[in-house]
Symmetry: C2
């Protein structure tokens, strides 16, 4: 999802769609890039669930779907509203130094694992 929002063209499209339902052609008119390119941007947004399209005769009308953005908003909220703030500014300072000594003795990591699991090159790219 976040990937869909990363592209400036797509952000612009979403903004345009914020208060107007538009056909594919109307969207394309507003950009310098070719219509097929826009068409694909729309497809990405559609697959990300950020827009919904409705066939209307020989044209296709797109409209914004705000719901999925809540998820992003949630993530953002978790970040901007930190758990403890003053906390580590001094507390962790010492932990860093302590760790530094420990490491030499035991190559294992004694920190909080923060559940990283196994993440590698496969699984990285996110489509939606």
């Amino acid at each position: 999802m976040a990937g869909a929002v990363a592209d400036p063209v797509r952000r612009e499209i979403l903004l345009m769609l914020r208060d107007e339902r538009l056909t594919a052609g109307q969207v394309a008119e507003r950009f310098a890039i070719s219509r097929p390119a826009v068409s694909r941007h729309l497809r990405v947004l559609r697959e990300a669930g950020l827009v919904r399209d409705t066939a209307d005769g020989r044209r296709r009308v797109y409209e914004l779907v705000t719901a999925p953005l809540e998820e992003l908003a949630g993530w953002l909220g978790r970040l901007t509203a930190p758990a403890g703030w003053q906390h580590h500014l001094d507390a962790l300072e010492t932990e860093v130094h302590r760790t530094r000594r420990e490491r030499r003795a035991q190559p294992e990591r004694s920190e909080k694992p923060h559940e990283p699991g196994q993440r590698a090159q496969a699984e990285q790219r996110e489509s939606a």
Copy 2:
């Protein structure tokens, strides 16, 4: 900025940094990918202004900077809190049909231009 947040690894890093200051090495330990790769992710985040690093002897401590995320939050807010909502669901419906007839007569577009300016392949990619 939004581009920096698009990568899942970077999102994870930001999350980790949410309540701990961490050294580059500590961050790298939590991922399966190589340290240089993480180092570059950190650089991207740094250039995006999302983290700040402090040299501490031979190690480098990273900390989160929440401020720039407000901007993204703002954009998100504009999207999730539409101007008129019920409005166009019926009002614009007719406009679309009206436009459709007009187009034949005058190839110009009579819609709101939404200030698209000139956007093309140069300028697309956003680094920060």
